[in-house]
């Protein structure tokens, strides 16, 4: 099948350079210049309100996160290594680790995925890794989770019969309605999305992509999404953590 002058159209949109990127590029490269500048400037980025709230929560509680871990500055680099396989063999993302600390060390009930408190704590911890290169472990017990995530990423799904990579590899840089498709990495999450009018988790974003292709969504916090999160983190190896991201 021939394509009618797609290059002319792309050039017209100023996207020729990004179209059909062969390599995986950081999400910030796909943002509009306005959003990109705003993402880099905490004073114009509403996501930092969640960071402030999370830092307050870090110091609260009995015992507080701080009483075990010290100042939150010590969390630098943690988000770059997550998800990780815990001692009991479960794959944990940052949200999962924080929930475990709450239940096991603070004796509190789970706060709940996508609750403002968990989002705030996760965003505050993740922000401490901003700019640091992603490097998750994918050997040993993590290898099986990586393959599970890869399979989910590469399998066509939903009534629209699309695999993640058909958009995020084959069509990165092109336009899907008003969006420029990025490489579909998780490095900006939790992110403030204008459409959400607030901060949301990576799993919430993954649910949106599954809804888009009319596939059955997994629950927030589902092990399937956490395995996918590991695969995305490995795809992003060497690229900087951007959380909190700023998105349309």
């Amino acid at each position: 099948m021939k394509r009618a002058a797609p290059l002319a159209l792309l050039a017209g949109l100023g996207l020729a350079a990004l179209a059909v990127a062969a390599e995986v590029r950081p999400p910030q490269d796909y943002l509009s210049p306005t959003l990109r500048a705003q993402q880099d400037d905490p004073s114009r980025h509403p996501g930092w309100l969640w960071v402030d709230e999370g830092e307050a929560l870090w110091r609260r509680g009995d015992p507080s996160c701080q009483s075990c871990h010290g100042d939150i500055a010590g969390m630098a680099g943690v988000a770059a290594r997550y998800p990780v396989v815990a001692q009991d063999g479960a794959l944990l993302n940052l949200e999962g680790r924080i929930e475990r600390c709450r239940m096991r060390h603070q004796g509190q009930p789970a706060i709940g995925y996508e609750s403002e408190a968990l989002l705030s704590l996760t965003t505050a911890v993740a922000s401490r890794s901003r700019g640091l290169p992603m490097s998750v472990a994918v050997d040993g017990p993590a290898a099986a989770f990586l393959e599970q995530g890869r399979t989910l990423y590469e399998t066509r799904q939903g009534q629209l019969n699309l695999a993640c990579g058909q958009c995020h590899d084959d069509n990165a840089g092109r336009r899907l309605r008003g969006d420029v498709i990025s490489n579909g990495l998780g490095t900006g999450f939790p992110a403030y999305r204008l459409e959400w009018n607030g901060v949301g988790s990576l799993h919430r974003r993954l649910r949106a992509c599954q809804l888009g292709v009319r596939a059955t969504q997994f629950e927030l916090g589902a092990p399937e999404y956490t395995a996918l999160e590991l695969f995305l983190a490995h795809r992003a190896r060497g690229l900087p953590v951007e959380a909190p991201g700023l998105r349309r």
Partner: protein
């Protein structure tokens, strides 16, 4: 709705035969209506073609460029060729990105609200074919 017992969903997909790279006969012998097809093509809830394609209409904001522009498609392709590309593009290219608009078999993890139903009915496919056939001019 025509639902045959024992074959839910499949009954909603019209039988067809492929000749070369085309489905020559209209699905269920239905006549397409170009005006209705134009509405289906623009519909953001169902077909959502413009998420990926541009049509020659400067009033449409935010059209995608994942698929080729549809201007001139009525000169490039016959109605039969357009019909196959809408019904199931994976029959031409197993790696096609374009969704199969009139197929229910062999799909994975379909949202239960849509399970067993094609995205577009046979009538809607014929309407879109009729509309695309009117897009003769490459420019605009």
């Amino acid at each position: 709705m025509l639902l045959l017992p024992g074959a839910p969903g499949l009954a909603q997909v019209a039988p067809y035969s492929v000749t070369g790279d085309a489905i020559e006969a209209p699905l269920e012998d239905l006549a397409g209506d170009a005006a209705r097809g134009a509405a289906v093509t623009r519909n953001r809830e169902t077909a959502n073609c413009l998420i990926c394609h541009a049509i020659p209409d400067t009033r449409e904001p935010f059209m995608g460029d994942i698929g080729p522009p549809l201007a001139g498609v009525g000169s490039r392709l016959t109605e039969g060729q357009i019909r196959l590309r809408l019904v199931d593009p994976t029959r031409l290219n197993p790696d096609a990105v374009m969704p199969p608009y009139h197929r229910v078999a062999g799909l994975t993890r379909v949202d239960e609200r849509f399970r067993g139903q094609p995205v577009l009915t046979a009538q809607e496919i014929e309407d879109v074919v009729a509309f695309l056939a009117t897009l003769k001019d490459r420019k605009e």
